[in-house]
């Protein structure tokens, strides 16, 4: 790495100041407030405040619905990431083989990324609506009574599809770029040596795509855990019986709807811990992978 030597000791601080100020005002200060709030019990208007230590955390982990939300989040994040990555990879490989129509397909596949998450949620909610939805109607013709209002499995499938749909576009772009950076000569050499398309994909393309895949895996898990609030709010509202209540949605329900600020703050702090953990993982492993 290159070291820059500043003549003036204050200049580097001065140059860093705007970024530091933004971080302090928009991240450190609110985060600190959340940590402090998580140790308090307070009424909604803030008239009476009691310091309760770790009582909010204790109540949280004793709450079966919170443990349920942890589990739901894990299932949801892994399924969304797997589905979004899998579909995107198939599409990207298909486009990579195309010669003439590739730009048109790429444009079409990237399109959903421009759709706002709440609108994406409403779109899928309409199609799967048990009363008026076209997909629910189609499933009924096939003998399946789709009912995401009461069936936890159907509800989970709905939010996973709605959340993954948008992310496919994003992953697709990265996979196409990743595929294009793989030298054609390698695959051609393997082909001459007699390796079939499937063999070539698994022994050459996939390993060379690992940095992209790993990066996308982290991005997708983070997306599923934190950015899917609008999708869930617009489709299932966390139901039925909190079967699709992920951690972020529970923070919103308890804090913004229920006005239980202490518990909501404690949940935010737990979430913050998870983000920090995921970020550390990303830096440690992605960096290592990229340098191989």
């Amino acid at each position: 790495m290159k070291r820059t030597i500043f003549g003036n000791r204050l200049l580097p601080w001065f140059l860093l100041a705007p970024q530091l100020a933004v971080t302090a005002v928009f991240f450190l200060w609110p985060a600190g407030q959340a940590v402090w709030q998580s140790f308090l019990r307070q009424d909604a208007f803030g008239f009476s405040t009691t310091f309760v230590g770790f009582a909010n955390y204790g109540a949280l982990f004793a709450d079966p619905f919170y443990r349920n939300a942890l589990q739901v989040t894990a299932v949801f994040a892994v399924t969304v990431a797997a589905l979004a990555l899998g579909v995107a990879l198939i599409l990207a490989v298909a486009v990579d083989r195309m010669i003439r129509a590739a730009p048109a397909y790429t444009t079409l596949i990237v399109w959903p990324y421009a759709v706002a998450p709440a609108i994406a949620g409403i779109l899928w909610w309409f199609m799967f609506n048990p009363t008026i939805g076209i997909l629910a109607y189609g499933l009924k013709q096939w003998g399946y009574r789709w009912d995401h209002l009461l069936d936890a499995g159907d509800a989970m499938m709905l939010v996973v599809i709605a959340a993954a749909w948008k992310q496919v576009s994003y992953n697709f772009l990265f996979f196409v770029a990743g595929l294009q950076s793989i030298p054609a000569s390698m695959r051609e050499a393997a082909a001459i040596d007699g390796a079939g398309p499937v063999k070539r994909f698994f022994t050459i393309t996939l390993p060379l795509l690992t940095p992209t895949t790993f990066f996308l895996l982290v991005v997708n898990v983070v997306y599923a855990m934190f950015d899917t609030f609008p999708v869930i709010d617009a489709t299932t509202e966390g139901g039925p019986v909190q079967a699709t209540t992920v951690l972020v949605y529970k923070v919103y329900m308890d804090g913004f709807v229920g006005l239980n600020l202490g518990s909501s703050a404690a949940q935010s702090v737990v979430l913050m811990g998870i983000v920090i953990f995921l970020t550390v993982m990303q830096f440690r492993y992605v960096e290592r992978r990229v340098n191989y």
Binding site: A44, F47, T131, I132, L150, G239
Partner: protein, 438 residues
């Protein structure tokens, strides 16, 4: 063109030079058609006098509006008036330093104000134990029954007789389904509000201890009584048989389309849904009825309870604004304004005068369905079980009711287990609220 520009500039200059009006911020949760009607009320008030200007601002759903007002209060940026839904009443009442009780406001500002002018069934929900009105009722509704007259006739039922009891409703639903007139008997919006809270009041069953929570902040829910359990059990059975179709949690978004599409012949929802029902039932004739009751339950039918929202005045605004708020409330509760608001929306008139005004102008003779909600809330003098309810954290308890009802319909719990869970989880939430507001 230039002349036009000049003259409009002159008007603009004149307008800014006029004596400054006191602006009164009013945060509300009425979107769409209702929002337009609300803004007209404010605009009419502003046109009528020149000292005050009421500025309505749409803040989203009821919970969003309440949260916004609380956040604003904490940041000392609160509006003078905020519209809060009925289940937020417990939260507002506990915040003694934040609200300016309406009775006190009217007295302090020397504004004529007679609590006896208001319908007791409406204001009872918002008065303290001494009978003082704490907030100004604005949009109050009560659930009623809507039915499809054409489907009734096709099924061989009398098109002018809505089901009076749950026994009738079950029999009618069976006949509707077996005759092929419609694929489903009935659906309902608001399982919590209609099929649980109002159901309890209508059958004179307690929802909680201490007069449904009116008496003390640390009350307990008693929703798991035998009558409520029986009803939830029936709903589950009827759902399994297809007589009843579930419309979803909270307001039950899927219930109205089931009725509009003539899938379900009977539909229970707020009286304020009437405008929507009328607009969406072009292909069939709609009939109206009171909520059904179990004929063998002593004391039923009692009276139904209200829902909707009231206007709360928040503390901490400049003194001058409160004078305007008091004047605006007087205008708002005048018979003409009330009658026009309730006729256009299906909400209840909040004063005796407004009710009489609508009657005298022949409104109820022309639209008989519009009078049912008023008849229903005033059917008998409210008892301790049918005045309403007042529990802390009730917004969350509503969610609990929805979740446990879903668990019942999904088959993972019996009616008794589900309602026991409502009570246990609800009591924990009430205790938490009591601890935070000590």
């Amino acid at each position: 063109m230039t002349r036009l520009l000049l003259s409009s500039a002159a008007i603009a200059a004149f307008a800014t030079a006029a004596p400054a009006q006191t602006e009164i911020q009013w945060w509300h949760a009425m979107g769409g058609e209702l929002g337009a009607k609300l803004e007209k009320i404010a605009a009419d008030f502003n046109a009528m006098q020149s000292d005050y200007k009421v500025v309505p601002t749409f803040k989203g759903t009821y919970p969003e509006t309440l949260t916004a007002a609380i956040a604003a209060f904490r940041a000392r940026e609160q509006p003078a008036i905020v519209q809060v839904f009925e289940v937020g009443t417990g939260t507002m009442m506990a915040a003694k330093g934040a609200v300016y009780p309406v009775y006190q406001l009217m007295a302090d500002m020397g504004e004529p104000f007679d609590p006896a002018a208001f319908l007791p069934a409406v204001v009872g929900y918002y008065t303290d134990r001494e009978g003082n009105m704490l907030s100004m009722p604005f949009n109050s509704s009560t659930p009623i029954l809507y039915y499809n007259k054409d489907v009734f006739e096709k099924a061989g039922l009398d098109r002018d007789t809505p089901p009076a009891t749950w026994q009738d409703l079950e029999a009618y639903s069976r006949q509707i389904m077996s005759s092929g007139a419609a694929p489903c008997g009935f659906t309902s919006g608001w399982i919590s509000w209609v099929q649980t809270e109002n159901f309890s009041a209508w059958h004179n069953q307690p929802i909680g201890t201490n007069e449904n929570g009116f008496g003390a902040i640390d009350s307990q829910l008693t929703l798991n009584g035998p009558v409520q359990v029986r009803h939830w059990e029936n709903l589950k059975r009827w759902q399994d048989e297809g007589l009843f179709q579930y419309g979803g949690p909270v307001g039950g978004n899927d219930a109205p389309p089931k009725f509009y599409a003539q899938d379900c012949a009977i539909y229970m929802n707020s009286s304020a849904s009437r405008a929507g029902v009328v607009a969406n039932s072009k292909d069939f004739e709609v009939g109206y009825g009171m909520l059904p009751y179990y004929a063998d339950v002593a004391g039923a039918p009692q009276n139904s309870i209200i829902g909707g929202a009231t206007l709360w005045v928040l503390q901490g605004r400049p003194e001058g604004e409160y004078k305007g708020v008091a004047k605006f409330f007087t205008y708002l509760s005048s018979p003409e304004v009330q009658a026009s608001w309730s006729q256009g929306t299906g909400y209840l008139p909040i004063t005796h005068a407004a009710y009489e005004y609508s009657t005298a102008h022949g409104f109820y003779a022309e639209f008989p369905g519009a009078e049912i909600p008023i008849k229903q809330i005033t059917l008998h003098t409210p008892t301790a079980n049918s005045k309403g309810l007042r529990f802390g954290n009730y917004v969350q308890i509503r969610t609990v009711i929805d979740e446990e009802f879903q668990a019942l319909l999904g088959g993972s719990k019996t009616a008794q287990e589900a309602l026991d869970a409502v009570v246990a989880r609800g009591n924990a939430l009430i205790a938490e609220f009591a601890a935070a507001n000590r």
